[in-house]
């Protein structure tokens, strides 16, 4: 944590955006299982359930926003770390590991909720793949700040 680019508020922010995306997916899964008598509610929910992957995927864009702003804010810090002997590779690895730690923690939490409600554990898994892709793409940007 001492050498990490992440501060506690950053960790918290990242956790919140991950939790939001996983919760949204979970809510949609839950909505699918509801046995509603009211046609009006069924018709209303259908508008969202039919486009679940698209809606959840669009919402994951807030994770991109987080990575983008995080690295933009930290570019001076990355440069200074390299100046005092840090390596871009080391910083990148630590960044990826921190992001993965938060992601895995939130996923385990969501898996627990999935298990509690009896949903398929794989329902949330596609989000992991999306988020890992985002982490890898953003990690590639760390090297960009080697020279500013």
């Amino acid at each position: 944590m001492k050498k990490s680019l992440f501060r506690l508020t950053d960790m918290l922010e990242l956790s919140i955006v991950y939790i939001f995306c996983f919760s949204l997916n979970l809510l949609m899964e839950y909505a699918k299982t509801l046995d509603l008598d009211a046609y009006i509610l069924k018709a209303f929910l259908k508008n969202f359930i039919d486009y679940q992957p698209l809606i959840v995927s669009l919402f994951t864009f807030i994770v991109i926003v987080f990575h983008y702003q995080m690295l933009e804010r930290k570019k001076a810090e990355i440069f200074c770390r390299i100046l005092v002997g840090g390596t871009a590779f080391g910083i990148t690895i630590r960044y990826v590991l921190d992001c993965l730690t938060v992601l895995i923690s939130v996923y385990l939490l969501s898996a627990l909720v999935n298990f509690r409600f009896g949903f398929n554990l794989a329902d949330n898994f596609y989000l992991i793949l999306i988020f890992v892709t985002y982490i890898l793409i953003s990690a590639g940007r760390v090297r960009k700040y080697e020279n500013i």
């Binding site: 009006i40 018709a43 864009f61 926003v65 804010r73």
Partner: protein, 405 residues
Amino acid sequence: MKIFKFMVSKIFLRKAILGIGIMLLLLMANYITFTAARSVLSTFQGYQETKYVNQEGVYIANLDPDSHIDMSIVDENGTQAVYDYLNSNFKYAFYTDGFMVSVPNSDDMEISLGYLNEQYYKLNEFELSQGTDLDFDYQLDGEIPVLIGKGLSKTYPVGATIEMEESVLGRPLTLKVQGVLKQNAYHSNYYALNSKTYYNFSIIFPVNEKFIDRASMDIQFNGLMDIILLDTSEEEIASLREVIKDNLGLSFNFFSQKENYDYFNEYYLHSLKIIFITTFILLIVITCLSVWNASVSVRLMLKDFTINLLVGLSCSKLKKIFYGYFGMLSFVNVALISIFTAFNRYGCWLRKDAAFATYGLFGLIGMDWLALLLVAVSDMIIGIIIVENMLRKIKKVPISLGVLQ
């Protein structure tokens, strides 16, 4: 305008990811508002259309869900006996639809036939764009006057005749177009007020006692399911229930005005409340995320904003630029929602789905435009929250400090 262009191209678009982030969040907020608004508006339209059933002395028939239909008991004599009883003791509104026929038309749609009697016609006050009202006193062996939807009026103008090879009377019929319904005339389902079928590709067929007597059992039986009894009482309803039970072996419920109101309050108001609360919570969450996104934008663009403030840009001008930028994003989103909706509506034409094919400006019907108006209002509220929050954050930082960032 020059400064607005400069700010958008040199500051906002330089960090396009943040702009796309706000736009997507706004798009979600718009979609949720639009969907909820359409559900509520559609239910309200349905309620307005079927308000006549909420009058004293009006009872609406409904097959008891626990009553099993045994088609071996149901026969033509049984249904005829029920109608004989109805004709001599009740004033009733008869309506049944969904009978599909192939009638040549320019859009190659399957045509739906809606059968109704004079009482139903009076209750519903059908609005016509051309022609005259239906005449129910016609001869079965002559031309039968009908109303048609707008979609058929191109092929069959007022006065034209439509030849039907097959009919519920078991013989060919000649229909004469008496009038054309206004575009997007609709019929709401009594038990799902937000669900509608549109009459654009329908033929509204007047039925009288003679017609029902000679019609096939299908139409008689289907007509009974939603029959509306007017100016009657509990005692008369009880005897009708007995007649139906004796002749068809079916248990019918007849809902009174009070029961209809209770049903509406319990079923619809409760559902509408859930939709309203869900929408409200989702909008709050999305607004919070948008505010977070806007704060991030301020954090990253603070230097650019403060430099511009230093060189003479006033706060009020900056405010206008922010509102202009947000208005632009909002406009793009509303346009996207409109295109998506128009595409969905156009899908009904491609699928030749006559019951849902509608006409409207840019493919959108009145209800869609009203929902889009509500979307614009919600955008304005979210916009004010975001922009004021951004300005508050910028004003909090002294210009000298911001420039040094």
